[in-house]
Amino acid sequence: MLQTKNKTGLVFFPAFDWAIDPTHPEREERLLYTQDQVLEEGILDIEGIEEFKPELVTVEDVQRIHFCVPDVQSVMTESHFISAGGAKKIGTVVLEKQVDNGFALVRPPGHHAMRVVHGARGFCNVNIEAIMLEYLRATYNIKKVAIVDTDCHHGDGTQDIYWHDPDTLFISMHQDGRTLYPGSGFINELGGPNAVGKTLNIPLPPNTSEEGFLYAIKEIVLPVLDDFKPDLIINSAGQDNHYTDPITNMNFSAQGYAELTSLLKPDIAVLEGGYSIEGALPYVNVGIILAMAGIDYSKVKEPDYDPVKIRQTADVTDCIKQTGEKVLTCWQQRERLKKQTCESNGFEERTRNIYYDTDNISERQAEKIRICAECGGAIRIDSSSDRGYHILAVHIPAHACKACRETGYQWYDEKNKGFDMILLQDRTTDQFHERKP
């Protein structure tokens, strides 16, 4: 009889009746063959693996993280409430210690969704990991969290949300942004002034294979995690690094994903991308589940798996080693870098254009943060889109110092014309406010 080493929770929500459009990679069929494989393998019967039904997240859960324009209901469909709710459910059962770890095998995904949401980008509307994590933080006593994003695409949404949070270490490993959407995630993206080094990016060259991914985990990610000592490790478990994925150029495998998972030992894994729905997902997902449960996965292989055929070249290996050295250097220098930025005492500003490729919306954003050595810092975002909305959004982090809290309220209360909405996330009271301009 099979018995797991860890008690593993599973939320499986394939949203068989939801698609972005009928031929979109994010369509009804995406997890169909995964379900077939999971059911046929009898995984849900294994002693120590428990399936949970997703809950729905609430509007308040979403507003902890997002400023949705014009409102939450307009940017989310029912499937997004469920998908985020699936992640929330898994997070809950892990923190309630009903299980040792858990995997939310849900769709639609979320890691390209940023703090301000005017629509969908990279198939994502809301960030399901962030909604889960901030619910968990508001409910349980957890502070330091690491999110390791192993999707093939840079997790730019999650990076944006945690850019200024010194308590959240965000590490993304992905196909080099010069060769793939969303075109970001370079080594020098290290986080905002109050959280320097708490964002780490590991761009990998196209055709990276098992050797490269596992090197990045063992030699870069794990040492950093050892240092950071998070209370919780979350894995954004995208599966589009697979050698058969139609929209990327990597050479990873089911065996590799399973081994990566058993090395990383995430408390919570959340499915992100992965569009090789027949040749990869059924095997990768089974591999990840078995790895989380601590069951032998050595026979979980794609029918056409040939490790020699997908092996990476020496150039790729060298490139990853060099990247690793640079990333580790940044990590080691984070305290010094933070000290430098915090000396400037005042505010830092950045302006960006954000394109929502899925919904074809352009956003113009000016962000201002209070530089603060004591907390994550109050954030002021002035955001407008070509759909005609113009909002002022203020974020006060949960552990905000008095000065940052006051700054946040000043921004919120300022007399301002020209905005359609003025919004405030006061995480110190876990409340969301909105006022008429």
Binding site: F16, Y33, E41, E78
Partner: protein, 560 residues
């Protein structure tokens, strides 16, 4: 008239019914070492003054195959299992002569690795050397494409008496359960066949040439003849007969909890509009999860004969049974003794019961009466907790579409029906202690046998179509049809319905009892690149478990 017979742990209930209601009922003791004799005695007693021409059907509910499995009195069988990529099938070993072989099929039914006939031949020799006569053959995804199982089966054909192929036990996906179910089917085949053939023979001898049906774990029946090929289906565990008995008297358009209070256990089931809730896949037997359709039930170790004791200053009721109640000559105090102390059971030796409860009362420094009340209330409370739990469990069953998650049916029972020995006393107290309306099932003492007698013949059919491959298949039904690109869900449901109808009639249903229910029907566009290459359609239909036509008025006659 029809006969229903339910073999219980201590006694066997037999009823004779006509269209108006219960004509006669008898109880005979169960002899676990000779079930055949028990069944015959029961049938003889019930038919004493009846002319055999008046009997139109007999339904038997026995735990024969279950007992054979539990007592390991099964035929030795060989198992040949091919897995392919995934979890090592060695993990699902059912017995000694279990061989894993090469060959694999993927989730869409495509061959990945062919069967190796030389390897199979090697296994054949070893099984023959071991003296094996019956062999099960199971492949991963054989319900999508049974070719490998049939290929292996044809290699075995000449060397063994009977071959059991995995895709014929169920249309559902679940390789480990398919292995276990095929194994039980192969292992129970001989015992099942021998038993019912001798029952049939002795009935024939007495001139009762009437159709015999067997109750299945899903609360449906199957004809004796058909059951020979589905011995696994007759593996009965839990209270199928009792639940069907309650169904006869259950109200329409309501969710109802059924509680069957027995000697050692209390079993709980749920009805939705007079249809019992089924396990999603099947029952568990001897630690193996199977694909044998079954009612969803919760069994707790708390019955009339549950031993009552004080442990660490705490009252403990069950789960063990040390014998009957002291009030009925047993060795130690039980729940029934508490009822006897409370004056709820006539014809019991109350003095003996008081004697039994006294030490417990002393341990708590309470009166005997108060202690008896406490025991009774604790039992009721535990039952109510479990009722809540099974309802929550049914409602938390995962669903896979947005629609089902948002609009899915939630069970909210407000009524409980109780049957079994102490039913009337429990019903009253459960009613007082909860918000449920609690009633006793009319004829509660033989409702189980009535349930068996009236249960309809049930079955299930799964159909899988892939218009990209141009095929609609239902391997369990030996069905494989070429379909064109326009084949759709509606046509698939119709094809599945035709197969279901054919199957139901074949295994003993009457046409008037054919009530089809679509359990699952889902259709996906298969998109490769940016164009649609076909449709992937999955349909599952079943005959709703329920009561045979023409006997609905029983509930009126017996109901209050």
């Amino acid at each position: 008239m029809i006969i229903g017979l339910d073999v219980g742990g201590t006694h066997t209930d037999v009823v004779l019914l006509d269209k108006k209601g219960l004509v006669k009922d008898v109880k005979v003791p169960t002899d676990p070492s000779d079930l055949f004799n028990t069944v015959l005695t029961g049938l003889e007693k019930i038919t004493e003054d009846i002319h055999h021409r008046e009997i139109t059907r007999v339904v038997l509910s026995t735990t024969l195959t279950t007992n054979a499995i539990a007592q390991k009195k099964m035929t030795r069988v060989g198992m040949i299992v091919s897995g392919g990529p995934g979890i090592d099938p060695e993990n699902y070993r059912t017995n000694g002569n279990y061989y894993t072989v090469s060959g694999s099929i993927d989730h869409r039914g495509r061959e990945i690795q062919p069967v190796n006939p030389v390897e199979i031949q090697g296994v054949v020799e070893r099984l023959m050397d071991a003296g094996i006569r019956h062999v099960g053959v199971v492949g991963k995804f054989s319900t999508r494409n049974p070719d490998h199982e049939t290929t292996i089966g044809s290699i075995l054909e000449d060397s063994f008496e009977k071959i059991f192929l995995g895709h014929q036990v169920s249309g559902n996906l679940n390789f480990p359960r398919r292995i276990a179910t095929t194994f039980f089917k192969a292992a129970a085949y001989s015992a099942h066949k021998a038993f019912f053939e001798s029952v049939k023979k002795s009935l024939d001898k007495k001139g009762f040439e009437i159709p015999i049906y067997i109750l299945k774990a899903d609360g449906g029946t199957i004809s004796f003849e058909a059951s020979i090929d589905y011995p696994g289906q007759t593996i009965l565990s839990g209270p199928a007969a009792s639940v069907m008995g309650a169904t006869v008297f259950a109200p329409e358009n309501e969710d109802v909890v059924v509680i069957d209070i027995g000697g050692t256990t209390t079993d709980i089931a749920v009805l939705i509009n007079r249809v019992p809730v089924l396990e999603p896949l099947g029952i568990e037997i001897s630690g193996y999860k199977t694909l044998i359709r079954a009612l969803k039930t919760r069994s707790i170790g708390l019955g009339g004969d549950s031993a009552v004791k004080v442990n660490d200053g705490k009252l403990e009721i069950g789960p063990e049974r040390l014998g009957p109640a002291m009030a009925f000559g047993g060795p130690s105090p039980t729940s029934t003794d508490a009822l006897s102390v409370l004056g709820l059971i006539q014809n019991s030796d109350r003095e003996k019961a008081v004697q039994g409860i006294t030490p417990i009362a002393e341990a708590f420094g309470e009166s005997v009466e108060k202690t008896a009340s406490m025991i009774f209330d604790d039992s009721c409370r535990e039952i109510l907790n479990q009722v809540q739990d099974i309802v929550a469990n049914i409602n938390s069953k995962p669903v896979y579409t947005v629609h089902e998650l948002m609009e899915g049916y939630q069970v909210k029972p407000e009524k409980i029906l109780v049957l079994g020995g102490p039913a009337p006393y429990f019903a009253k107290r459960l009613d007082e202690m909860s918000d449920f309306r609690v009633d006793v099932v009319p004829a509660w003492h033989v409702a189980n046998a009535i349930g068996a007698a009236l249960a309809r013949t049930t079955c299930e059919v799964s159909l899988f179509a892939d218009t990209g491959k141009g095929l609609a298949v239902s391997p369990e039904e030996k069905f494989s049809n070429k379909v064109n690109r326009n084949y759709n869900k509606t046509e698939a449901v119709k094809d599945a319905g035709d197969l279901l109808n054919k199957k139901a009639l074949q295994i003993g249903a009457s046409a008037e009892d054919f009530e089809m229910e679509v359990v699952e029907h889902i259709q996906f566009n298969m998109v490769r690149g940016f164009s649609t290459t076909g449709k992937n359609i999955r349909v599952k239909v079943q005959v709703k478990p329920g009561i045979i036509h023409g006997y609905g008025s029983i509930s009126i006659k017996q109901g209050k």
